[in-house]
Structures are given as structure tokens and as C-alpha cells.
């Protein structure tokens, strides 16, 4: 099947500083791809390059089967939504929506139909004659999304569209964007540094760091089988627990050993042959079971330091061998700081990383 967007050996550098080095990625039609990473990882630069707003140093960009590397933004068949909304301040909502169509010289009737259709889709009908200054943040961002939709293109680019909104609006618009994607079936590329947005919206997530994609996969894959320590630590809140140790072989089966803890790894599915040597064991707060002794799992005993109730669940922090580990339990907690606890580790769900940081 033909890719909607295809990036081939892309390199972007300015002033001797390489932002993106030899990146290749294929995005399928109707896919929702999220580019996720910390600030300065090159995700916005990549998006701007796809839009044609950023000069590239080497490589090719293909959109809908056409090599658009040298094309102007308007000829690439894309619509884009920006973090700061970037609405034209002196134009009404209607004029904002129709600007691109007027520039393209479409017939008036066609413009009116498209604007009406887009406005209805985004519930902007009653706001058409207002100026951007008279709109709330959420309404402004809906107009910005509308301005991309009205172009009726195959690919939509979102550059941190929800970052300027408050938490409640962000949640509402996130759902709205997801519905839009289901309804329209366009390809969407979405840049964010918010992992909740990434996990909830994406078909696939590309986690970037220093201009390099660390892992490209479904939200479930990224969350449950992180490819390296960076991805494992970046995704999840509270962050994954890491324990340094060694993998040794005892009576035929591999064992992870650290500070008196010995975990039988025969239940873990390794990528390749079981290695031996230094390793890091990573497990999420929910991979610990409160009552380790009764569950028969390997026990990591410690003393409770902090309890954070969050309503539906709670995070319990406890000290083990000089480091702070977290555990998530559903419902109410009766534990108090200072209590002793002996949770059990569900090793089948845990991850192991080698000394180079990549998944074993």
C-alpha cells in the first residue's frame, strides 16, 4: 500500500548543528502518528519540514505518492494547526477559514459551501462573524483546526495544538480531535510533549530524542515493551522503577540479582538469547502486587515513605535498598508512611535493559 507521507533519509542542520540525522519513516493513509519527545528533540522541526516551512539539508519528503521535497507548502496537500492558533487577527472567523480558498481562487459558491460544512463540523456556525479576539482559547483552536480542515487535504499536521489550553479544555478538544480523525479518516501527524495526548490519540507513536527516533510503535507496545531506557523512563507517570543489577545463570535458568534480590527470569520473554552480565530491571508501579507473600511472586520489601491518593487509584512510595520505588494500587489505601510492606513483582510484565540501555 502507498504511504500517505514518506520521509527518506531526511537530514536537517543549521549553523553546523544537526537537528535531524538521516531519518526515514513511512506513515500509512488514515494513520494517526504522534511525534513525542522532550523539548528540543527535533519533533517540531520535522513537522515544519513536512509542511515545507523548514529548509532541509538532505533527503526526500513524499506526500500522497508525490515527491514534494521542493514544493511550496500550499502545493503539498497539507493543512496545519499551530500551538499559538496563529489566527489572522483582523479577519472574522469566516474570513480566517476562507483565506486559503480565496488565495487559491476557488469560486465563491464553493468557498461558502466548504466554510459552512467545516463550521458545522466544529460547531463554529454561531461564531463566523466574530474576530479571533472575541473567542475563548478553545474556540480559537477550533477555528485553527477548521482552517486546516477547510482545505480538504489528505494530511493534517498538528504542532502542539493543545499546549496553550487549560487542562479541562485540553481533555475536551483531545476527544474532539480523535472523533474528527475517526469521522474524516485523514492522515494526521501530531507533535506533542504530553504523553497522555500521545497515548490516547495515536495509532503509532514515534518517540524522539536528539533528532533520532528511539521507538516507533503502537501506544501499547511503547508502554509495555519500551525499546530502551529513555523510552521506558519518558513514558508513564509516575515513571518506571529502575533497579541496577546483574543477570546470572543459576541451575539452568537466568536470574536477575541485585542487593539480595533474586528474581527468576524464566517467565520473561527475551528478545534474543538470554544474556549475562550487568543489566537494569524496569517495572511500572502497577507491576507490583501489594501482598507479595500471598501472591508467590518475588518480594521487594521496604518501608512506606509517601502515599499519594489520586481518587481512582493511589501511588505508594517506599524505600528499598537506598532508592525510592513506587507502587500503584486501585481504590483506597490504608497504608501510612512508616508502615512496612512486602510487595511482589510480576516479572512477566517487567522490562530488562542491557548495559547499553537497549531492551534485552
Amino acid at each position: 500500500m502507498q504511504s500517505a507521507v514518506s520521509i527518506k533519509d531526511l537530514k536537517i542542520a543549521y549553523g553546523g548543528h544537526t537537528v535531524i540525522e538521516k531519518m526515514s519513516i513511512d506513515i500509512a493513509p488514515q494513520e494517526f502518528l504522534v511525534l513525542l519527545g522532550p523539548s528540543g528533540c527535533g519533533k517540531s522541526t520535522l513537522l515544519n519540514a513536512i509542511a515545507g516551512l523548514q529548509d532541509i539539508t538532505a533527503g526526500e519528503i513524499w506526500i500522497s505518492g508525490k515527491n514534494v521535497t521542493w514544493e511550496e507548502p500550499k502545493d503539498r496537500g497539507i493543512g496545519m494547526v499551530f500551538q499559538s492558533y496563529a489566527l489572522y487577527p483582523r479577519m472574522s472567523v469566516r474570513k480566517n477559514l476562507s483565506f486559503g480558498l480565496r488565495v487559491a481562487g476557488l469560486p465563491k459558491a464553493e468557498i461558502e459551501t466548504r466554510v459552512a460544512r467545516t463550521a458545522a463540523l466544529l460547531h463554529l456556525d454561531k461564531l463566523l462573524d466574530r474576530r479571533p479576539a472575541e473567542l475563548s482559547g478553545g474556540q480559537r483552536q477550533r477555528v485553527a483546526i477548521g482552517r486546516a480542515l477547510v482545505r480538504e487535504v489528505d494530511v493534517f499536521l498538528f504542532d502542539e495544538p493543545l499546549s496553550n489550553l487549560d487542562a479541562k479544555l485540553r481533555n475536551e478538544l483531545r476527544v474532539e480531535i480523535k472523533k474528527l480523525h475517526h469521522g474524516l479518516g485523514n492522515t494526521m501527524i501530531y507533535v506533542t510533549h504530553d504523553q497522555v495526548e500521545a497515548l490516547t490519540l495515536a495509532d503509532r507513536i514515534a518517540i524522539m530524542r536528539d533528532g533520532v527516533i528511539q521507538q516507533l510503535g503502537s501506544p501499547a507496545e511503547i508502554y509495555h515493551r519500551p525499546a530502551n531506557l529513555f523510552v521506558a523512563g519518558f513514558i508513564g507517570a509516575p515513571a518506571m522503577n529502575f533497579v541496577e543489577g546483574r543477570i546470572e545463570r543459576a541451575s539452568g535458568s537466568p536470574v536477575f540479582v541485585s542487593n539480595g534480590l533474586a528474581v527468576d527470569l524464566s517467565g520473561h520473554s527475551f528478545r534474543a538469547l538470554t544474556p549475562e552480565g550487568p543489566a537494569t530491571l524496569g517495572f511500572r508501579p502497577e507491576h507490583l502486587v501489594l501482598d507479595g507473600v500471598a501472591s508467590g511472586l518475588p518480594v521487594i520489601a521496604g518501608r512506606v515513605s509517601v502515599v499519594e491518593p489520586m481518587g481512582a487509584d493511589a501511588v505508594v512510595w517506599f524505600d528499598w535498598a537506598g532508592q525510592s520505588l513506587s507502587l500503584r494500587i486501585m481504590g483506597d489505601v490504608t497504608l501510612q508512611p512508616g508502615d512496612d510492606m512486602a510487595p511482589g513483582l510480576d516479572i512477566a510484565k517487567a522490562s530488562l535493559f542491557g548495559s547499553d540501555g537497549s531492551r534485552l
Binding site: 509542511a51 500550499k74 499551530f82 499559538s84 483565506f99 479571533p132 485553527a144
Partner: protein, 294 residues
């Protein structure tokens, strides 16, 4: 005395200091209005009344004939056609000069706001210096240059000179205004297919209306009040109002007609004054403009 229990709005307090302050402001305002008052009163008196020397006295019977003379009969040397020729000359010089310098300055400022080469700050420092160097330094080379392109002593020549001298400051003001416009706005317009001019005319210029008003007023008053450049470059037929006013006031033949002089001076000053009064609201808005979020 016991302090009252604080509750509700804080009561207004009138102190002696406040009263003193307002009294001072009132007196200061009177002081600065006095010359204008004297000018208006004098322009409405007959010469006989003026000779009495009561310069603050109100006219016995307001007489507008000095105004008519100033407008259409006052003498410059031997020519007695009034200041109206100068008025229309000034309009012919000021209007195109303001329009051209503001438009070209806006285009320059927009282009420079997009173009950020290395050493840009040095470039803008030079631009600023261009706006601050005294005109006198340029006079001689400018006269030679204008003569070489046959524009010396012509309307087009004086307009060109005003545009050139106005551009550094106008460009700088527009550049600083456009730099504050979010970069993403330009990007959005480019995705929508707009080019350099389309973005300028349909997005940037409408946003810059307060700036256009402020800059136009600065340019208008500056060019209207100009004396030196008009005297040197305009030529006999295009002398601006300021130069003609000087010719009327400094005429040495016969008696000094103070009432006509006052009327002619007020006529010359009234145009920039009116501009400020009519667009004061816009002026304040432009100066405080910076809020381009939208």
C-alpha cells in the same frame, strides 16, 4: 481616635497634598495656554487696539479681518497674496511625502522583520543613526545629488527628500512592530498559499493600523513643520507654509501688522494641532500597541 473597622470599599481621602497638586497642575496649564490665548486675542483686535499695549485684554469688538488678510492678502516682500499659497504648497508636499514614506517604510520594516541575518543588530543601529544624524550634514551633498537628477527646486524633489529623510525612523518603527508578530502567523499564511505581498497587504498591514496612524502623525507633523528642507529644496514656486509664514512675519516694509501675523501663525499651526486632536485616541492606542495576540 480609634481607627474605623475596615469594611467594604476603602473611603476616598482628600489630603492637603492632593489639593496642592491639583492647584499646581491648574496653574501650569494656564501658564502654557497663555501664549495661545494672547495669539488668539491679538489676532481678533484692530491695529489701533493693539497699540494700546494691553496684550491680555479681550478685544472690544472681535474683528476677523486680520484672518482674511492673513489667508489671502498678506504681503511677502512685494507680493500680497496671503498665506493660502503656502498652505496649498504644504498640502502638496506633505500628503504625498507622508503616504510614500509610511508605505515604503512599512514594506521595508516587514521585509527586515523576516530577514534576520548575522549582524542584524548592527544594521539596525546604523538605521537608527540614520534617523538621528542632523539634516545640516546632508544638505550640501543632497543639493548636488538633486541637481544631478534635475529634481532640485521642484515639488517632486522636496517630496523625495522628505521620503528619504523619513525612511530610517519609519522603517525602524515598523520593523520593531512586525518583529513582535508571532512567526506562526506567517507560517499559517504560507500554508494557506499566501505570498510576500499577500501576507503584507491582507494580514500584516491590517494588524499594523495603530502603528500606521502613529507613524503617519509623526511624519505629518514633522514634514508640515519643516522649514529648512522646504527652504532649500522646494524652489520658489513650492515654498511650504512655514517658509511663507516667516516671510510674512519678517517683512520689514511699513508697520508690523501683529494681528495678521498672529492669524497667519495660528493658521499654520492649526493643521498639525487638528491632526492630534482628531486622532488622539488612535495615537494612544498605537503607542500602547504591543498586544497583537489574537
Amino acid at each position: 481616635m480609634a481607627r474605623p473597622h475596615p469594611n467594604g470599599p476603602k473611603p476616598a481621602q482628600i489630603t492637603a497634598g492632593r489639593i496642592g497638586l491639583y492647584a499646581f497642575l491648574f496653574v501650569a496649564a494656564l501658564f502654557f495656554l497663555l501664549p495661545l490665548y494672547t495669539m488668539i486675542v491679538t489676532s481678533l483686535k484692530t491695529m489701533d487696539e493693539i497699540r494700546l499695549g494691553h496684550i491680555f485684554a479681550l478685544p472690544e469688538a472681535p474683528d476677523f479681518s486680520a484672518w482674511v488678510t492673513a489667508w489671502s492678502g498678506a504681503c511677502m516682500g512685494t507680493v500680497c497674496v496671503g498665506i493660502r499659497i503656502g498652505f496649498w504648497n504644504s498640502v502638496a508636499i506633505t500628503v504625498p511625502s507622508v503616504a510614500l514614506s509610511v508605505f515604503i517604510g512599512a514594506v521595508n520594516g516587514y521585509a527586515l522583520s523576516l530577514w534576520r541575518p548575522r549582524g542584524a543588530s548592527v544594521l539596525f543601529g546604523l538605521l537608527m543613526a540614520g534617523g538621528l544624524i542632523p539634516y545640516q550634514i546632508f544638505l550640501y551633498p543632497m543639493v548636488r545629488a538633486m541637481a544631478n537628477i534635475s529634481l532640485y527646486n521642484s515639488l517632486a524633489g522636496i517630496i523625495l527628500v522628505h521620503v528619504i529623510f523619513g525612511l530610517p525612523l519609519v522603517t525602524l518603527l515598523f520593523r520593531n512592530y512586525f518583529v513582535s508578530v508571532p512567526e506562526e502567523l506567517c507560517k499559517a499564511a504560507r500554508v494557506d498559499g499566501a505570498g510576500f505581498w499577500r501576507i503584507f497587504f491582507e494580514i500584516m498591514l491590517p494588524m499594523a493600523v495603530p502603528m500606521i496612524v502613529v507613524v503617519s502623525m509623526l511624519q505629518f507633523t514633522g514634514i508640515w513643520n519643516d522649514f529648512l528642507l522646504g527652504l532649500v529644496f522646494a524652489g520658489r514656486d513650492n515654498l511650504p507654509m512655514t517658509v511663507q509664514l516667516n516671510n510674512i512675519v519678517n517683512t520689514t516694509m511699513g508697520e508690523r501688522t501683529y494681528n495678521v501675523n498672529m492669524a497667519a501663525t495660528i493658521l499654520t499651526a492649526i493643521v498639525p494641532l487638528a491632526v492630534y486632536f482628531l486622532s488622539g485616541r488612535w495615537f494612544v492606542r498605537g503607542i500602547t500597541a504591543g498586544a497583537v495576540k489574537g
